[in-house]
């Protein structure tokens, strides 16, 4: 079966620095793929190429066989690809439900006033908020909510896009120990309940090993290894990349 997302020979240079060097990997439909690597390995750069915030120097990113590099950034959501951001990029002066509704921007055509799809979109947004235990925050401005809540709202916004591919950029960053524990369970639950494929950049090794079906390891812009969590844990090159830099 063809992979949902195929990255082929992805290379990007910023001035003299090669941030990604001939990186290729697959993301299979219905699985959770972890993208790991030491700081500066090029993980978020890889995400930013997929969501078209960066233009790679060469290579292909095929989503269901279609080259994403031909799309503009605002067309990516229409392909049913949604993401979260490393540093929580919410719309701070809007309410929780408004944030989530922007997540559905590409799915619902426009309308004038309250006509059109507004009622349907709002109902769906509320349902997602309820499923993520956020309903109580629906009418609250997101600014000032606790960090963990804000991260979950970002996730709700991404889910509102009904993504076939969900890109999570460091979902565990900044969360407490208990929150990380709960996060692992909820990522698995979300993949199943919302029927989506997840590609996740993460530093928290325990979380990645527990959640991922498949892991891709990047180091200094190159792919070091990919395989099952067990295979990765025992891969000498991976161990060296992590422990060797300590």
């Amino acid at each position: 079966m063809a992979p949902l997302l195929a990255v082929r020979g992805l290379t990007i240079r910023f001035g003299g620095i090669t941030a990604l060097n001939d990186v290729s990997f697959d993301v299979d439909a219905g699985r959770i793929t972890g993208l790991i690597g030491p700081n500066g390995a090029g993980k978020t750069t890889c995400f930013n190429c997929m969501t078209r915030l960066y233009q790679p120097t060469s290579g292909e990113i095929l989503f269901k066989g279609e080259d994403l590099l031909r799309c503009s950034p605002q067309q990516i959501a229409r392909k049913r690809i949604a993401r979260t951001f490393q540093n929580v990029a919410l719309f701070d002066h809007m309410t929780t439900i408004e944030n989530v509704l922007v997540g559905g921007h590409a799915r619902f055509p426009g309308g004038f006033g309250d006509w059109g799809y507004e009622a349907q979109a709002t109902a769906e947004a509320l349902e997602i908020l309820e499923r993520l235990d956020l309903a109580q925050f629906a009418r609250r401005p997101v600014r000032g909510l606790p960090f963990g809540t804000r991260k979950t709202i970002e996730l709700a916004r991404a889910l509102m896009a009904k993504p076939e591919l969900l890109l999570l950029d460091e979902p565990a960053a900044g969360l407490s120990h208990e929150e990380v524990g709960a996060l692992g369970t909820s990522i698995k639950r979300i993949a199943a309940e919302f029927d989506t494929t997840i590609l996740m950049v993460e530093h928290h090794m325990q979380l990645v090993m527990r959640v991922s079906d498949h892991i891709v390891v990047l180091a200094t812009g190159r792919k070091l290894a990919d395989g099952s969590p067990e295979a990765i844990q025992n891969d000498p090159a991976v161990i060296e990349a992590y422990l060797g830099t300590v």
Binding site: L53, F85, H105, R140
Partner: protein, 340 residues
């Protein structure tokens, strides 16, 4: 939510009633001032959409008012149009210019956009003086005064008052419907975090250009009523100071709420008059000090301050129409964190 809407509707009802009764309880000369308030309110509404909701700062909306005013003046003066034809044509012309300027604005953010639009405002009077054959040059163009249509028992001044405020009502209604829901959310999402908004499919070129065009069209309508009310346009009607005055009105009134347009319009029309009475020697000092005090104590504008006080008094959780208190006119691009 339903309760909030009901509250909002009753406030709108009170506002309409006050506007309808006002010209009968104020002295005759003040009716004239209140017509200008209506025109200012339409222009400031445009700035609230553009700057408050979309984060694009324009210091050049006086130029759009000039175009609107001159479209009406030239149309009526040279082509013999009725006034009511001039207003929508002015809106359309300014909307078209707004699309053009909006496309340029896509490449500029924050203070750079403010400066670029400011240069537009500065250039406008010279431009008007240069094309004498159309604009009448330095002397401007005179129009016949508006007369009440036959059968309506109002004097000309009251008739013009109601026409202006009815147009303002239409402008507010259409704008409110336009920015409700998906469109308004897209504008505000682009203001708060353009990269996240784009990632969810919000086309920045489309929405930012349209916000600019809509806001310019509203300024054009305001300019049209300026011309009709004064029955005269000249380059000095639309100096760069007008553009700055509009932004002052928007920020003082409250750039995050449509109510800010009404309050801001009242302030910019009447504050100079009040300042004159307080100290005839240095009215601009009184004006300036008032601005500083408002910005110091209610940085989210008069409407924002009043809404916060009401909320505090009634101990309700915040239920803002648009959003909570916010830094006025914060340059959007400047404080975006980088993403890698």
């Amino acid at each position: 939510m339903a309760a909030a809407n009901a509250g909002q509707l009753s406030r709108v009802g009170v506002a309409i009633a006050v506007i309808a009764i006002l010209p009968w309880v104020v002295p005759s000369f003040a009716v004239f001032d209140l017509i200008y308030v209506g025109a200012y309110a339409i222009a400031i509404l445009g700035l609230i959409v553009l700057t408050g909701m979309n984060g694009q700062i324009s210091l050049g909306h006086g130029a759009f008012m000039a175009l609107g005013g001159y479209v009406v003046a030239v149309g009526v003066h040279a082509a013999g149009w009725p006034y009511w034809v001039g207003v929508p044509v002015a809106a359309a012309a300014c909307g078209a210019l707004g699309i053009f300027i909006g496309l340029i604005a896509l490449r500029l953010a924050g203070v750079y956009l403010a400066l670029a639009t400011f240069s537009l405002a500065v250039a406008t009077p010279s431009f008007l003086k240069h094309f004498k054959s159309v604009t009448g040059g330095f002397g401007g163009l005179s129009l016949d005064s508006v007369t009440t249509p036959a059968g309506i028992p109002l004097d000309a001044q009251h008739w013009l008052y109601y026409v202006t405020w009815a147009s303002a009502g239409v402008a507010f209604l259409v704008t409110a419907l336009l920015v409700r829901g998906r469109f308004g959310r897209a504008l505000r999402a682009l203001r708060d975090d353009p990269i996240a908004a784009i990632s969810f499919g919000v086309n920045p070129y489309f929405y930012k250009t349209l916000a600019f065009a809509w806001s310019a069209a509203l300024a054009g309508v305001a300019g049209a009523f300026f011309a009709i009310t004064t029955a005269y346009v000249s380059p000095d009607t639309f100096t760069f100071a007008l553009s700055i005055t509009l932004l002052i009105g928007a920020v003082l009134g409250g750039i995050m709420s449509f109510w800010g347009a009404l309050v801001g319009a009242l302030v910019i029309e009447f504050l100079p008059l009040v300042a004159q009475q307080v100290n005839a020697g240095a009215p601009s000092v009184v004006y300036g000090v008032t601005l500083i005090l408002v910005m110091l104590f209610v940085p989210d504008g008069i409407v924002g301050g009043v809404m916060r006080s009401i909320r505090r008094l009634s101990h309700r959780p915040p239920q803002p129409a648009f959003e909570p208190s916010v830094q006025p006119a914060a340059p959007v691009a400047a404080d975006q964190p980088s993403r890698e």
